[in-house]
């Protein structure tokens, strides 16, 4: 009895001693800030920063004083926290969001054949270039959903992937996985995109898909900022740096495929500041503003598309967006 206690106790003491000594002598010196930074990173190890994972990036940004914030998934709050930990101001890149540039739901499109193979768009693409009649359209097997490390893409009942705005971090994993390059990253701030990338001319495309870009060019003509380009054999493309989110293109598109990742807020005219100059009424492209000269003007919220043209032109700074 006694001997057993002594023996086991002795072994325990010896082991504790070895552990205690080695913990001191072989300790890995780690910058405590690294751990702190890691806690604020998303932890999805998506690799969008260009490093092997969140830990590798945390190490880089802590040890290298010139390293920029390369994580596209980090939010404003976390960026602030990391800046505090590191004691230097980090500039975040403009937050991006993924958008799916195809609106070809099964009811509006034709299939060339019935596909029965593995549920992976990349594998389906190998079979005669995919079953969808349109060779640019979404195959709808959800490879983007499967690779998204943030569960921000969900295959909808309409057979197309939907980006969940609050979860998407703009890491770009889905873009690499999509065999048809349908997904694109655009700035988060409510920008518009064209939901079609077909290069087929309208005559060839129309029998395959009823909701594709027919290259009519109305959007390009109406865009006040010349942000949209379209040609006979390329779908309309919105140049994001020029887009001012006026939304005029949405209202004129005959196939209704231009959409925004987040609709911009409508505007409101402050009655105290408005001097009743009527400039806003003149610039409004949708006749949403009305009123009498020298009296405060009013916005018809039902008509306002939130383009913001009036905000720019108002000499009295009386117009602002309603943040929804």
């Amino acid at each position: 009895m006694i001997s057993s206690i002594l023996l086991l106790g002795g072994i325990g003491f010896l082991a504790a001693l070895i552990l205690g000594v080695s913990a001191v002598t072989f300790a890995v010196k780690m910058d405590p800030r690294e751990q702190a930074v890691l806690e604020h990173l998303p932890g999805a190890n998506c690799g969008a920063c260009g490093y092997a994972g969140c830990a590798a990036f945390a190490h880089e940004i802590t040890t290298n004083a010139e390293a920029e914030m390369a994580c596209p998934a980090v939010n404003e709050e976390a960026l602030q926290a990391i800046s505090e930990v590191l004691g230097r101001t980090l500039g975040g890149s403009a937050p991006l969001i993924a958008c799916v540039r195809c609106k070809g739901v099964p009811e509006q499109t034709v299939n060339r054949y019935e596909y029965v193979g593995p549920k992976d768009c990349r594998a389906a693409q190998l079979v005669a270039g995919g079953s969808k009649g349109c060779r640019y359209g979404c195959l709808g097997l959800g490879t983007c959903e499967a690779v998204c490390p943030f569960a921000a893409i969900m295959m909808g009942e309409d057979g197309l992937p939907h980006v969940i705005e609050s979860l998407c971090t703009g890491c770009g994993k889905c873009i690499d996985a999509c065999p048809r390059s349908i997904i694109q990253l655009i700035p988060r701030s409510g920008n518009y995109y064209v939901g079609c990338i077909s290069k087929d001319i309208a005559k060839d495309m129309k029998p395959l898909c009823k909701v594709g870009c027919i290259k009519c060019g109305i959007c390009a003509d109406i865009c006040p900022f010349e942000a949209i380009t379209v040609s006979k054999d390329a779908s309309a493309v919105i140049e994001q740096s020029k887009c001012n989110r006026c939304g005029l293109c949405v209202s004129v598109c005959p196939t209704g495929i231009i959409a925004a990742v987040r609709m911009p807020g409508k505007v409101r005219i402050s009655p105290e500041k408005c001097k009743g100059c009527s400039i806003c009424e003149q610039v409004c492209p949708v006749e949403a503003i009305s009123g009498k000269v020298k009296e405060p003007y009013l916005v018809n919220e039902g008509k306002c598309i939130g383009c913001g043209l009036c905000i720019e032109k108002c000499p009295a700074d009386a117009i602002e967006r309603i943040i929804s």
Partner: protein, 439 residues
Amino acid sequence: MKTFKGGIHPPEEKKLVKDNPIVDFPLISRFYVLVQQHLGAPAKPIVSAGDEVRKGQVLSEPLGFVSVPVHAPTSGKVKEIGRMVHPVTGLLAPCIVIDADGKDEWADGLPLERDPFSMSREELLNAIKSAGIVGMGGATFPTHVKLSPPKDKPIDTFIVNGAECEPYLSSDHRLMLEQPDRILQGTRVAMRILGLDRATIAVEANKPDAIRLLREKAPADIQIEALKVKYPQGAEKQLINALTKREVPSGGLPMDVGAVVQNAGTCAAVWDACARGIPLIERITSVTGRGVVQPKNIRVRVGTLVREVIEFCGGLNEAAKIIFGGPMMGIAQFTQEIPIMKGTSGVLVLREEDTNITLYSACISCGRCVEACPMGLIPSVLSKLGEKGMWEKAVENNLLDCVECGSCTYVCPANRPIVHFVKHLKALSRAASAKSKGA
């Protein structure tokens, strides 16, 4: 009887068409000659819309050594250089459309008379390349490339592949029965090119009539070997293994073990090219399967629409699936508006009950695919990696040695599309290496 390890025994289904003599497909009014009918570097059309062409005239210029031209299947006028669904890729590909004038006149000087056995090796190889000859078993690799192995790979074995192990197909069988002399003479031309004094023609034992006839006709330097009936007996590496007991090393080619294999139909085309200067503009194709009313073996010109071929065979009957080639390795088609190509050994039409399109389930690790794999791989592991897209791990598991014969998929009780997974993994690994090269 000689054979290899592994493999499967699918129902042969050859009786549908094997006793039907070859019939000539009539001259039709329009041909669609795809520019790319071979594996390798592309070719460029050298005719333009409105040009008059004659039968056997060159229509395209090969761009590179591993490339061959295509030729006009009949005389007539080029309607346009259009685009057509390519039966292999399923995508639109450049295609020379020819309106026949009905005269079917040969180009100047064709067919000529010459003795291939007095021609030099280079002259023969040139004749083969300019005749546009490719492997007619289906892989369509340019024949002149296969017949000119590099100097550091000495060749001591030449095998003519008459195994025709794909179920349903009988085009090589009919050719061996009806025109054995073309095959034997073509074999001797190939032997002359390779500098060999003997060759073997390998035929599966389910064609006893062809074996008997070839043995009667064959000169002493050509041996006829009967092989066990087993799929994929006609796959290059399995054929070499069965006859010579040599194993092509992982990642290697038959020439690494001193062997060259040519399809029987290719040998016949080689003879036409070398002795008479006739390019590869027609081939023998089995139109078969229970989905077509009258299965036939036809001699058809390259560029004939499949729709017309099927009409010639009495039309479709409860058809569910049209396949170019055999049921094991052939390529399913989604339209009948595609042309016959140089490598179209068969047009197989299956009914719904002949196909298996049930959904697949999880791997039950039964190991049947491992037993069936003629390459000694572990298909179950590859299929699981395929589901996850883990191509790096798959390459470690010898992914690239898979010949995509389909034996594993055939035996899988869970209906797993294993070959599809393998093709998917191969595509991912190709894309990744292309990306790393570009970066």
